[in-house]
């Protein structure tokens, strides 16, 4: 191979080193989940004594409501993602293609909501949910999750639609569509890329979130909240924590791996122009 085309070695070394920092703890968690806690307490990296056991994998399902938490996590993250995926393109369409009074100002306000941290909302939301009796209802976290996501999600979809051929919208109008029909029949089928992006990001962020579920939910807790409870005050339960951690991690990982092709799909529209 020509000398010029040989890639330099150092990026591989740097990336390899950084990857190790992330991968080693994952190995650790798997190792912890598969051996007795007594061995782990001497250091999970020690291999002079290794007893393979699935004890923790069995115990954690019995001792803790792991399945219920899993279902709650799926419901919360799934419904939050669905809400964002349905609403964000509508917002994006309105801000990109409709002219209405206050369009710029409201868009600016919406996007600026991005800077509002969750913590600021805790007290007002808590009192509100208590008044309407929504404490310990999963919608007490789904509603703020969807609302907070609008800031970045609408922005993301609108940016994607900037490149969307306006002539397609106009062709739909000529063909007799109103805005709703144009949106559902023409824009949405050609905006799967930003919808997938919004869905994945929202799913992963809500799946991993801890603060709001911990404060607003009592019994219907999702996995991250359960994780904090498995580690008791007097017994570390490292092995069971490891199992719960693996279960908590595996879903967003699978979702990401499956949907990542949409990230790579690019934003090209093929309405008939020559490429």
């Amino acid at each position: 191979m020509n000398e010029i085309y040989r890639p330099p070695l150092w990026p591989f070394l740097v990336i390899g080193f950084v990857s190790l920092i992330w991968i080693i703890p994952l190995f650790g968690i798997v190792a912890i989940s598969l051996r007795p806690e007594s061995e782990t307490l001497q250091g999970w990296w020690r291999i002079d004594e290794f007893t393979l056991t699935f004890d923790a994998w069995r115990k954690v399902w019995i001792n803790y409501p792991l399945w219920d938490a899993f279902v709650n996590s799926v419901l919360i993250a799934g419904l939050s993602a669905l809400g964002s995926v349905l609403l964000a393109p509508m917002g994006g369409y309105c801000y990109q293609f409709l002219n209405f009074p206050g369009r710029r100002l409201t868009f600016l306000l919406l996007v600026n909501a991005f800077v509002i941290p969750n913590q600021v909302l805790i007290i007002p939301l808590f009192t509100l949910w208590r008044e309407v009796g929504l404490i310990d209802n999963i919608f007490s976290v789904i509603i703020p999750f969807v609302a907070l996501s609008m800031a970045w999600a609408v922005f993301l979809v609108k940016n994607y639609l900037t490149d969307f051929p306006r002539s397609l919208i106009e062709a739909a109008q000529i063909d007799g569509c109103g805005h709703i029909r144009t949106f559902f029949s023409v824009v949405l089928p050609n905006a799967l890329t930003p919808m997938a992006a919004v869905g994945i990001l929202q799913f992963m962020w809500t799946w991993n979130s801890l603060l709001l579920p911990m404060l607003f939910l009592r019994e219907n807790i999702p996995l991250p909240v359960l994780l904090t409870k498995i580690k008791g005050t007097y017994e570390p339960n490292w092995d069971q924590v490891a199992v719960a951690t693996i279960i908590t991690t595996i879903v967003p990982l699978a979702v990401f791996l499956y949907f990542q092709k949409y990230f790579a799909a690019g934003a090209s529209n093929q309405s008939g122009q020559k490429g």
């Binding site: 051929p165 002539s167 397609l168 106009e170 062709a171 739909a172 109008q173 000529i174 063909d175 007799g176 569509c177 109103g178 029909r181 029949s185 023409v186 089928p189 050609n190 529209n269 093929q270 309405s271 008939g272 122009q273 020559k274």
Partner: protein, 369 residues
Amino acid sequence: MATIALQNLVKRFGATEVLHSIDLNVEDGEFIVFVGPSGCGKSTTLRMIAGLESVSGGHILIGDRDVSKLVPRERNISMVFQDYALYPHMSVRKNLGFGLKVAGTPRAEIDRKVGEAAEILGLSPLLERKPRQLSGGQRQRVAMGRAIVRSPDVYLFDEPLSNLDAKLRTQMRAEIKKLHRRVGNTVIYVTHDQVEAMTMADRIVVMRDGNIEQVGKPEALYARPNNTFVATFIGSPPMNLIRGTVGSKDGVPVVAVSDNLVLPVPEDLVDRATQNQSVDLGFRPDICSPVGHELSSDGRKVTLSLTIDHIETLGAETMLTTLVDGKPVLSKMFNPRSVSRNDNLDFVLAVDQCHLFDADTGQTLRDPA
């Protein structure tokens, strides 16, 4: 089928007025072409007729309905876009039938009409393909098919051929004309290509800076341009214009271009040209040819001795650029013979077929067509 009337049509974008009180009547079944340079307002006018742009002033009538305030779907029009605007996620069949489906047409009728349109346009074998699997010309045909299935009152074409290569463009020009003869509906067609305008139009509307400069049949626009803009815009290559002053020589009214170039005023304009008036003398390259290589024509002729500056061989004829008073003047040599740059030739100019335009206003001294 319907007539179209534009009455005092005005368009403003913010404080900028881009269309200044346009008036136009289009006959039922007529093929009208809007032509003009970029930014002349032709596409804006078309989009206003379509309902894609709001009307800032005046009225648009389709048939006897005032559609100025109606949304596109209530105007019973269809439009072919420059980039075709085919729905990428739908097959050709669905693209063609979408408008009918939105209108709530029964399934069987959609199938029948789509089938008919596909038959007319030769799209039947392509019905299950997606737009990205089609060539440029096929996409163009689908876009036309989408327009005809709905049997609208008016077809609007917005520079539909500008994305095609030259050969395909010529072919599609003929197909669009054929289609028009077949369906017979009113067509408004926008282009910046004057050849398209000349070859397709029943009548041409020449626009500039948001105004209509002239409306007329292609041959009338070519033969009787109302002003220097139309004279130079219509016809390829454009009309030659030489600045001069009206005077008289031996009692005959003449246009003095320079001290040694004096040309007689065309016969029919003798009474209209006033002494010392500054004018632009206009003539097409085909009435100024080397002696022995000209077209036969009526009227007086003068012979000019000119030096060739540039030669373009086109085959059946050759374009010669000569310099008159230092400015390039195009001339057409029919049945060409071999010539070289800097050759000095005698050219014959059919003076009675020349045009005179007022140099200040650019308007013709003849009665406007």
